[in-house]
Each structure stands twice: as C-alpha cells, then as structure tokens.
Amino acid sequence: MDKILRINMGASGGPSQSIEEAGEFTALGGRATTSMIVAKEVPPDCHPLGAENKLVIAPGMLSGTAAAMSGRISVGCKSPLTGGIKESNAGGQVAQVMARLGYAAIIIEGKPATDDLYKIHIDKDKVTISVDNNLKLMDNYPLVEKLREEYGDKVAYMTIGSAGERKMAAASIACSDPEVRPSRHCGRGGVGAVMGAKQVKAIIFDDNGCKHRQPKDPEKFKAANRAYVEGIRKHAVSGEGLPAYGTNILTNVLNEAGGYPTNNFKTGFFEGGTKISGEAQAELEIKRGGLATHGCHRGCVIQCSGIYNDKDGKFLTKQPEYETVWSHGGHCGIDDLDTIAMLDFLDDNIGVDTIEMGVAIGVAMDGGVIEFGDCEGAIRLVRDEVGKGTPLGRILGGGAEMTGKAFAVERVPVVKGQALPAYDPRTVQGIGVTYATSTMGADHTAGYAVATNILKVGGDVDPLKPEGQVDLSRNLQIATTAIDATGMCLFIAFPILDQPETFEALLDLLGAFYGIEMTGDDVVALGKKVLNLEREFNTKAGFGAEDDRLPRFFKTEPLAPHNLTFAVKDEELDELYNWS
C-alpha cells in the first residue's frame, strides 16, 4: 500500500484524479489513516456536506495479506450527524481488494458543479470516473444487482442507497460481502451522506491480476498468523460463543443484568428478550436453512455473522447484530425476529445505520407517531417514509436527535448528536463514561478493546475505586483506537485480553509484515496520537466539555429494576483526556 488516490469531484471540467506517494501512511491503516488525513486536510468548521469536507477510505494495516481477521475498511470525514470527526468501519470484501490494489487511502474531495451522479471503477491499471444517472435513487440491493451485470462478481462494491443520495444524517455506506451482497455497512455518523454529497453512488474495486501483499519476513509472518489463529480459535468467546450465536448472544445477559434499554430507555428489562435472543435467532436461522455461523469477509476465522432466511427459506438479510436487534427490538418494544430482520434488510437496502434508525423510531414512538411494539408501523416508517424520502422520512433519517426535536420528546438518548447503542449507562456506568467522552459521539465500540490489562495502558488501575471508571474508559479508548488503526476486527480483543501469547502473535504479525519490531508501547502511542488529533479537531469544530456529557435524564430518572442513575461526576468526565 504505497500510494494514495485523490479524486477531486469539483475539478473544473469534471472530476480529476491524481496518485500520491503514501509516505507516512504506508505502514498505517484504518482509523489512524482516516483520522490523520481528516485532521490535516479538513477545516474543522466546514459544512459536512460541503465541498471542503473529504471522504477518506482506508484499509487496515494487514488488509490484503494472508493475516486472519484483517479485512475491516475504515471511512473518515467530518460527520453530518455529530459535527465532529468520524471514523466508521465495516467488514465485507472492500478492504482486502483495495489493499491488494496497493492503495493506503482514497481521498474524495470537492463537489461536482452539476447534479450528475458518478461511479468510480478502480483496477490495477486505471481509475475510471464516469457519470451514470441511471443509478439515481436506486437502493443498495437492486443497485449492486445492476452493477454486477456490468462488473461481475469478482469485485468488491462500495455503494450508497437512496438515503445517502438524499444526504440523510443517518446514511451509511454499504460494502459487499463474500456473496456480493451490500450487507456490511460503515453505519455510524452519516458517512453515506458525505459520499452522497460528493455525488459518488458506487466505487467498484477490481483486484483482478493483483496478488496478496507479501510480508518482509514470510516465515515469521506465517508462524505468527498460525499462533494468532490458534489463539482466536481456542478462546471461549471468539472460538465458541461468537461463532455459535453472534453478538446477539448478549441480549439475555444484558436483560438479566437489568441493563437492556427498553421502550426508549424507560426500563432495563425487556419481557420479550428471550424471543429475540441470539440463542433464539440461531435456532431459527438453522431451522430455516440459513446459517448461524458465517464470516463477513474472507479470512475471518471467528465468523460471528450468519444468514437469516424468511419463513419460506429465502435469503432475507444477514444475521442482524446485537445492537440492531436491540435498536429495532427491545428499544421499540418489538419482540418479533422476523420484523427485526425485515427492518435490518430495509436499513441495509435504503442505506441507513441500523442503530440510529432504530433509536430514531423508538424516539418517534415515544413522541406518539406509532405505538411501542407496533411491528407493521415500524416497517412502514422505514420502507415508506425513510425509503421514499417523505418529510417524515427525512426527519427519521436525520437521526434520533432530529426526531426528538420534531416530536417534542424529552428523553432523547444521544451524545454529540449520535444515538446511544444497546447498553444502558445507568447499569454499566463505565460504558457511560465512554459514551460521554468518545470523540465519535455515543459509540459502544469506542472503548471496546478489553485488553488494557495486557497493554498496561496508562499504568495499573485499581478497579475497585469508583474513580477507576474514568481511568478504565480512558485506557479502553486508547487501546481501541490502536486496534482500529490496525484494521483488525475488534472481536480479536477477547483472545488478546485473556491470552498474552495471542497479543504477542498480533504484534509479531505486524512486525513480520513491515520488517519492524513492534511493542505494546508502540500500539499505545499510536492510539493516543490518533485520539489527540481527533479531540483537537472536535475542539476546533466547536466542541467543549459540555458536549462530553450524557443526556440529563440518565442522571435524574432511575432505571428499573436496579433503580440506578448515572453517578459519574462531570469533573471526573473532564479528567478523561488528561494523559501525559
């Protein structure tokens, strides 16, 4: 990955392209690359949908190699949803193919002067940018079907649906999976709206004639990959729980803990939880001839995903993840898996973030638009309102905060304008700290790398001290940022937490590939550097300490069954970014 492709959509006479040397980004990837480029090149106070914003796409450090789990693709920009910096990543085939084509990043900047819609085809010899107005307002599934007629199945597609073209703040970017379906999404923060603002409907990555990227030390790399895969396979979470039940394995446990936000965060227990649990979902998938174990990209050994078929045994959608099952399920009082799966498909097709969409619908339910538990109503809102771009659909597609304002709802679960995911911060207060302080807005993955004890980020923390919450969250955010930079799937965090030798194997993989010695300290330093840059961007974009807060209702409304409120003090939250 020694080059960067820059496309100026606003160049006079039509879009222009240039190739630059990757320089410092040659041995970087994922969130490190996107955030560093955005921080350097995008004016923090620009309009997210204007010409000055840039869409940066970057594969992981080991994407396109034989390393397992290395296929996450990152997209960065200034977010139309939060107004701050954004990195959103997804699985699918794009990262592997893009990396094999040799690109460390693609930067899409400017804005066309006309209302033409473009597609970009990239192969090993050239980049072709062409107008294709026939694709206008097509949704992801029919769009990819149509593109496949022209470009075939041996490529990877990155596309936006109608929501992206309409520049809805909840719009996502779809990445095609191994079956060439647009089912994997860079969902959070409205990155699809930025692609829509650049009037780019699809990017087709074609690595025909390209080879796997080769490591500097092939023997060491091979041995490290073997140890790394073994470590992943032998761990109870990555080797058993996730493959068998996917992330939705969490529904029962969160419900039992009283931390499952139900009916727009009114209570922490959902009566219908067992009906939509990962266990119930896996049973149903197998019964209908789908799959409960499936990888979102080739080279994934955990395979937390699956295939969800409808009652007639026909493909409906990929296995909805825990956060999706929650947002469209318990959050909306819906306990029917088929309804949730249909909503997951509609979100993917229209191209909206499943978390933002589900939370917005729950807020709309609280505002009286439809009743909690109304399955048909929820489907109608997404399909007929968001999908058709009606005024109501544009409000919902604008996200939970906009929906709350439109329907005068007091309880709106957002931080920095982004909807809170599926874990109530009153029950698990440590994640509340991450939600409040993350540079990304409320984000469950921002502090996901549970490997802080191994990394010893920030020294040892006394987990029994209440103020340890902030220390833990800080360390988690640094470690997560580092893993995001490698472009590895975050679920590798579990074997890394419990098995130091698996963490060593990951460092060896990176070291053997780039011919360098990597230590835990290097990883931590990278995580801190990226977070500092992101924080600085947000400060210049107008964010202050008052934005690092949870909505007030978390402090004032006790959550049943434990009757807890969020108790971490503002002054403690303000300590999060105090690191040397």
Partner: protein, 204 residues
C-alpha cells in the same frame, strides 16, 4: 416456600430434543433445592455440576439480577433467580465476567454477599444461556424441574412434531403411557395453574 407439586411427569426422550427446552431454559425453570447454600455448593453438591466446570465454563453469573464475582461467597435464598452463562463478548460482556478486570465498570450491579441465610427446603429459578443450555440443561431436566401447567402446555404445543418423533414414552404420576397420548392425556389432566414436576430420561 417448599415446592408442592400437583403432578409428576417423566418423559423419555431422544437426546437431541434438548433444543425444544431452550426457550424454557432461557426464561428460567424452578428447581426444588436446599436453599441457604452458596452458589458453588448449590451447583456442585446439589446439582452435580463439576467444580472445574463452574470455574472454567460458567464465567458469567447473576444472582437476582446482580453480577457475581465469587460463587463461594454468594448465598442462594429461597425464591432466588440464578442465571448462568459462559464468557460474553463486547466491552459490556467482559465487564460482567466473574471477577474480571473490568468489574468496576458495573460496580453498581455487583452482588455483595449477605451474612444471613436460612437453610431449608425451597426452590430456586435457574436460567441457562448460550452453550450452557446444551451442556447443563439435560442435567437439570434429569434432576427434575417445576413447571406451571401453562408452561408445559406451551412446551408440548410448540414442540409437538419433535416430541412425536423423539419421545419413547411418558409416565404420569408413575403410570406409563405411549407417547402418542402425550398431548391428549396431558391436556385433559392439566390445568394451567397447576405445578408439574417434570423429569426427563435421556436416550442416545
């Protein structure tokens, strides 16, 4: 709260039919036990689950909705609910782990041992999640679980075709019947509010 039963039902089933009980096991089943023991003793001594299995495999436990860090110091009272799970993914999943590094993040819902507990006959509701449904479920059903008539009717109704194929025989209050009579016989005998002690004999 000694467990009184109105009916005793014994089913002889093929082993794969354990999956028919998964919805029930997730919602929880009552077990007649001696309460007042700690969680480790209850699982190990009373229910016959090996200590090593409890330590290595049941890594996420909730007693009355509170996360347990020390199974030997957590006392099960009459009427308690004990939920058992293997290791969970995600940050929050990790915080829930028994004695985990991130336990402070869920400090507000951590179980704090109580000193007093009366020892005596009682019942406890056990919920099983994920892999434990298959691994521990058969043991609990073999030992005997208390169901309401309504729960049993739902179970037999939802798994009707599987039970038809995979059931050898059943005994109602010690009287043996062929499985063909399972639905009919029980539906005429059983009222939704009655309590049934269900035991399962597993056949390979």
């Amino acid at each position: 709260m000694q467990a009184a039963t109105d009916l005793n039902l014994q089913l002889t089933l093929k082993a794969h039919l354990i999956s028919e009980f998964y919805p029930l096991l997730q919602r929880g089943v009552w077990l007649p036990v001696i309460t007042g023991d700690n969680v480790m003793k209850l699982l190990n001594n009373q229910l016959g689950i090996a200590e090593a299995y409890v330590t290595d495999r049941i890594t996420t436990l909730f007693l009355d909705g509170k996360a347990i860090d020390d199974a030997a110091a957590s006392i099960v009272k009459d009427g308690s609910t004990l939920a058992l799970s293997s290791a969970m993914p995600g940050l929050v999943g990790s915080t829930m782990r028994r004695g985990g590094h991130l336990a402070a993040m869920r400090g507000e819902i951590t179980y704090h041992p109580t000193q007093t507990a009366t020892i005596g006959a009682g019942k406890v509701k056990i919920k099983l999640f994920n892999m434990l449904m298959q691994e521990v479920g058969p043991l609990l059903l073999e030992r005997g679980v208390l169901l309401s008539g309504a729960e049993l009717i739902t179970l037999l109704d939802e798994g009707a075709s599987s039970f038809r194929d995979g059931c050898d025989s059943f005994a109602l209050n010690s009287q043996l019947y062929p499985c063909a009579e399972l639905g009919g016989k029980l539906l005429t005998t059983l009222a939704p509010q009655q309590t049934v002690l269900l035991k399962v004999v597993w056949k390979d």
